[in-house]
Each structure stands twice: as structure tokens, then as C-alpha cells.
Amino acid sequence: MTELLVGTKKGLFVLEGDAGSEKPFEVAARAFPGNVVEYAIRDPRSGRYFASVTSGHFGPRVMQTMDPTGDWEPTTGIAYPESDDWTIERIWSIKPGEADGLLYAGVAPAGLFSSTDGGMTWELNRALYDQPTRKDWQPGAGGLCLHSIATWPGDPSRLALGISAVGVWLSEDGGAAWRHGNAGLVPRYMPEDQWEGTIDLCVHNMHRAPLRPERLFMQFHGGVYRSDDAGETWISIAEGLPADFSFPLTIDPADPDSAFVIPMVSDGDRVTVDGRVRVYGTRDAGETWTELSDGLPQEDAWLTILRQAFDREGEGSDLGLYFGATSGDVFGSGDGGRSWFSVHERLAPVNSVRVA
């Protein structure tokens, strides 16, 4: 049985089903009706579920429960200092850390919060907040958001963050200090004479390969990149893709040479290329890409898949892949992308998909 947490513009949908049956999943629960659910995960260490919920009236917060079909309770502490003029607008990401009870949350406007009590209370990361450039940080179209938090397996001191549009940030001391990791990223959306040294870098998604943690993959705002030195430098691996613009990205944790993307036309037309829904996967670190579209719509299917709406289950020969679109459609594959089936149709616009 697979449990999917699908965050949508109209609440959280908990879907249950079996990828092997290739049948649509059942809706086991719908939580937070009337509210936007930006993101939801289950922390595999504690079994606790977390959902980032934005109320149009009462603002954003992280909610938690041990039973997603039951009641949820608010967590506390995700707020900017009263003395500042920044207000939390949206909580983009929640990520288990590499120490007992440690979790991270990435928010907009861009900031990092951490919890050391299993996600019940949160505290602002002051080192990132106190960056002297912070007041000059520029938002992407989705806001000034910290969306990607790449932990280092077994080592809580090493972190990499992706911010739209303030590039990659690296820490080797658990977030006490931060520095940029942007070398090689090319912001084609800026005048060429402004490329050198800019921090206006629109990272769309970033994942670390857990078996080779110095390797990271990135979907950029025009470009797909790989780093083999823990995010210090980046090389383009977009050759062979039908387009290099997109948001979603995931990996096979058993294969450090693997990455999966879902190309969209461009920043001016954020839909699947040629009206065909195609996942592209690499198993050689981006040297070549393979189209993975068997079972996905291939005619007049102009879907938009948002950055947190693509996830994987298991690894290696048991790798499952799942993604959802703003059309409300969710697709899945139980065989690493070789074939796909419809997980569910006509949900609300999908913000995020995570396997529980």
C-alpha cells in the first residue's frame, strides 16, 4: 500500500493505493478544506505528519498529527522577529534533519527555521536571516522562497539550501554560517554583463544523491545542473532534454547517477512541451536522458507541474515515481518511470506530492 500526501489549493488529500495494481488510488482523507496546502510530509522517524497550510484569513503555519485522517494541531514559532518588516507568507518545505528530533522548514520570504523537538516548535536560523544582502534579495515569480533543503546523510553539520532567486547557500557547521555555492550557474534571464558574481539566481529545485552526498542535481530557471563538489560548482547537464525550463526534480536514492525532470516549454509558457507529458530520466549523471512517457497523456496535455509536486518511493528496482499537476491530475509509476498510470483525476490544483 502506498500513501500519498497531495497538497492542493483546496486542502490536503491523502491518497491510498497500490502502484502494482495500476488502479486509481482511493481518497482516504481530505484535511484543511478551504485552505491552501503548500506541502505535506510524514517524518519516517517519528511517524508524525506535517502540513504547511496557508489560510486566506489566518495566515500560514505548520500543522502536525500522528493520524492524517484525524485532527491536526498547530506547531509554533515560525514567525519573523517583530522588529522586522518581513511577515511569513508561505511555508514551502519541511525536511527531516540528520539528528534526533531535528527538522527544517523553508519559508517565504526566504528564511530557514529549525526544530529540535520533532517539529513541535521552530526557531529562526539567524545566520541566514542576518545576511547583509538580505534586504536586496529578489523574488522569483513564485515569491522569494526557500524551497530546497539538502541534508547530508549522517552529518547534521552540512547543509545546502536553494532559494528563488538567491541561489545556493552552503553550511558546514549546521547553519551557524552560510556562504554561496553558485559557480557555473548561468542566469540567462539577466543581461550577460550582469552574470558574473550576481546572486540573483533562480534555483527551482535541488536534491542531493544520498549515496554520493557531494553530488547534487538542480533544476534552474532555464538550465539543469549537476554539482560533484557539494554545491561549490555546477555544470550544465541539460543537453538532450526537449527544454531546460521546469520546476520538479527527484532522484533514485540508490543511484547517485540518477535524476528525473519533467520539462516545460519556457518561463513564458510553463506547460509540458508539445502538449505531451513526459518525464525524462538520466542514469549516467546527465550525460544522456531517456524519455519516460508510456501511459502518460501524449496529445493536447498542457500540464503545469509545480516544484514540490514530484516525489519518489523506494529505490533501485523498486523505485516508484509520483507527480501531480495544476490540472488536478496525479500520475504514478511503480517501475521507475517505464510505465505510468493515473493515480487520481480532478483533484484541486496540486501544489505538492509526497510519499508518506
Binding site: 484569513h57 489566518f58 522577529p81 511577515t87
Partner: protein, 88 residues
Amino acid sequence: MATVKLRSPLRDLAGGNREVTVEGASVGEILRDLERRHPRITGWVLDEHGRVRQHVNVFVDGERVREDAPVASSATVHVLPSISGGNR
């Protein structure tokens, strides 16, 4: 002591109480006192800067006001989601 009247979901966060008696001379002060008495409501009505959230309406004795408005000790205060804030 002013009386704050609450609806769901704020009522649920205030232990199921439809009415809460609070102290304070302004809307901001009584809402802070509401947070002290019911900490789960912190951040829902006032943002981190002490401002009433944009899409929350506060009425004091029938008049819509913001956080700096005075509140008499006998006042009845309604805290309601505004019609503008629903997610489309």
C-alpha cells in the same frame, strides 16, 4: 474586562470557548491578552508584528476597527474572517 466572541476555527483554538473575557485598553492589547490566555491562537489573528491580519475583521461594539482602536472595559469584540480572504 472586554468580551471577545469567537467562531471556528478560532473558537477551537480557544478550547472551544465561544466567548473569552480579556483585559486591555486597545484592540491590540486585548488580542495579545487573548493569545496569553489561549496560546494556540498566537499568530492566527495578529501577525508577528502585532497587526491584525489583512483578511481578519475585528468589530468593537459593532464598529470595524484595527489594532490601535480603544476598547472599553464593557465592550463586546467580534473577531471574524473577512469576506475578502477566502482562497479562490
